[in-house]
Symmetry: C2
Subunit: 395 residues, 2 copies
């Protein structure tokens, strides 16, 4: 069962009862040797207790041995008691698995504001530890899913100068229809040996090109966390610039694959809007335009309805705050130009557009004619499924 994880990592899961469904909601990954750790965390000022605990651990710079994940309770906005509880979960898992509490990086997702139900943790930890080595990447991923329609994980084998290594990424976060769970948790494991600085740096770059270019509803969660553990169990070290480049390429590729899974999550329920802004004064302006369009409720509902109401897209460009001359802006929807140098293109393409808008992927291309800045963003649409799922999430 465990041969899909990189060497030296074992996974375990348990159903602690944080969720009423009876499904696994607790997961543990343990490395058989100290791993170099990288981490990226939410920018929200209210950071969940596990985020604060992880940040403190990573600041110390030492190696780690485990990741403890739970769904059902976010342990966010829980104040001092939340921190105390988080440390207690580290201690419980450490005692049962023969580790030290600070060997363990905790990650959580679920309802915000409620305190962890410690009795359920105490009861579930023995089964969790006993199952170590009996779960694969999919099993671990399922333990920290929330309303995700499917588990999101992927592996790659990388040929480095010293031999082969493996990279596995497991993530949660429902894109299209469950952005309530905009909380994105991601664990990347590799059995390559690498040093801390380049490992952390390649995560920062890879995330900027992948997860940070996905937009669901613009709500930045209190819990967003990406962890990377490299334990060197393959015996292959990443040291030369060429090896580093190979590992980074694999990491960027696999994170991009998982980011696309996030947006695609609402299988059959929505559309993915691929927004490209080009010709901006700089990349910041291009990003402003792409995010303004991708966050517009009016654009998102029109795309949901398959309505080629392109004026809403141009309107969102107009209030983006980017610098441009309105008379030079052009825009194409699904490859069909609707707006050219500030003038509408009123040809007879409505029927064709209606047909194109039935597809699952919708492209929006904006050219500002103001420079060479470019940015792409994948955004979800906004439909009844979003409202239904988010209007009554807690009950």
């Amino acid at each position: 069962m465990t041969d899909d994880l990189p060497k030296g990592f074992r996974a375990g899961t348990a159903a602690a009862g944080f969720k009423t469904t009876g499904r696994d909601d607790l997961g543990l990954i343990v490395s058989d040797r100290p791993a170099v750790a990288a981490g990226l965390f939410t920018q929200n000022a209210f950071k969940a207790a596990p985020v604060l605990v992880c940040q403190e651990l990573l600041r110390r710079g030492g190696p780690v041995l485990a990741v403890l994940a739970n769904s059902g309770q976010a342990n966010a906005c829980t104040g001092d008691e939340g921190i105390v509880n988080c440390r207690a979960t580290q201690l419980l898992a450490a005692q049962a698995a023969g580790l030290a509490p600070n060997d363990i990086l905790p990650i959580s997702t679920g309802v915000i504001g409620a305190q962890l139900r410690m009795n359920l943790w105490r009861a579930a930890i023995p089964a969790l530890v006993q199952s170590l080595g009996r779960r694969d990447a999919e099993g671990f991923t399922r333990a920290f899913m929330t309303t995700d329609a499917f588990p999101k994980f992927a592996s790659r084998d990388i040929g480095l100068s010293g031999g082969g290594a493996r990279l596995t990424v497991m993530a949660k976060g429902a894109g299209m229809i469950c952005p309530n769970m905009a909380t994105m948790l991601c664990v990347a494991l590799t059995d390559a040996a690498t040093e801390r600085e380049p490992w952390q740096a390649m995560f920062r770059r890879a995330v900027a090109f992948t997860f940070n270019r996905v937009s669901v509803d613009g709500d930045t969660s209190t819990n967003d966390t990406i962890l990377g553990l490299a334990n060197g169990a393959s015996g292959v070290a990443v040291q030369s610039p060429a090896d580093l480049a190979l590992l980074e390429e694999a990491l960027t590729g696999i994170l991009g694959q998982v980011a696309h899974m996030l947006v695609m999550d609402g299988e059959g329920a929505g559309r993915v809007i691929h927004i490209t802004a080009r010709g901006a004064a700089d990349e910041t302006d291009a990003e402003r335009v792409a995010r303004s369009v991708g966050h517009s409720q009016l654009v998102k509902t029109a795309i949901y309805g398959g309505d080629a109401n392109w004026g809403r897209i141009v309107t969102a460009v107009g209030y983006s705050g980017a610098r441009f001359d309105p008379d030079r802006v052009s825009m194409a929807l699904c490859g069909v130009e609707r707006f050219c140098h500030g003038q509408p293109v009123n040809d007879d393409q409505e029927a064709r557009l209606a047909e194109l808008l039935r597809g699952k992927d919708v492209t929006v291309e904006i050219d500002l004619c103001a420079g060479s800045g470019e940015y792409t963003l994948q955004a979800s649409d906004l439909g009844h499924e979003y409202v239904s799922l988010n209007a009554d999430y807690r009950s």
Copy 2:
């Protein structure tokens, strides 16, 4: 019929056929003497043709005699042809009513991107001009409504030092459920005599405290316009600081009344969220917090569902960009404290909150404990009616 408008103003309307319902969609207000004009316009970079034409007219600084309003077509993103068409509508109305084209301020709302159907304009102008003097404030307001559930207008009589004057405000813009029409058009008329500078200045201040504190979906329209005409037909002049203060007080009050109507529009279909951010480092930070909460899709869907999911509110405060210490922030929902100096308040108020959340008005109070900045905002919720109305607006 016309006694509700200030003295010297006549209104007329017609059904031109821009809308398929057969309802009035064209309106004209004519003053019997030159009026001092004020105007405020959208900040969107793509300004509709009538916005550009009004701005040019107001820059000249001379008096005006009329307002020409239509619904069904926004004449926005219509390029050079849109400007030519807008000027042609001024000319048609001027010729029929015995005015000069530049006496007339045009305002439009409706679908973006389509050119005006000039043949319908030509056919409808004679009936429009013939009806002058036969419509009241409600009739004129109805002619530029779109999906508004009810017409929004109000009048006040003001006692000034020289005698009585009247102020009438007519507006469109559907708040709660039809934010597609976030386009806000507003015409204010008074028969008091005032000078241009203070008249314009009091509009700027009054709008900052009223319309600018209402949020529906954050989409800033291409057509937003507020016009103020003062024709002096009452024979009462506003000159002393005391008179100016009285007029400004009346204007602010009446615009506030109409702004509330905008948010209340979706009668029976949604809730109004009254957000107050206080204790911010400055007013800008308070506004950041209020808008972050008021624009959050997760907060808006929770309120729609009557779900006391207060963690989403704190989360939106957390990514607002305002400066504060997370450990000092407090938050109350419907007057029930849920978060106190960074700690959750986990008392047994869920049943009471669920009851309070059944009301039409929901209050959210946030205290940042970081200074004395304060800002209030009224926001709409986000429900199925919004999605239905906006997913297929054009057809």
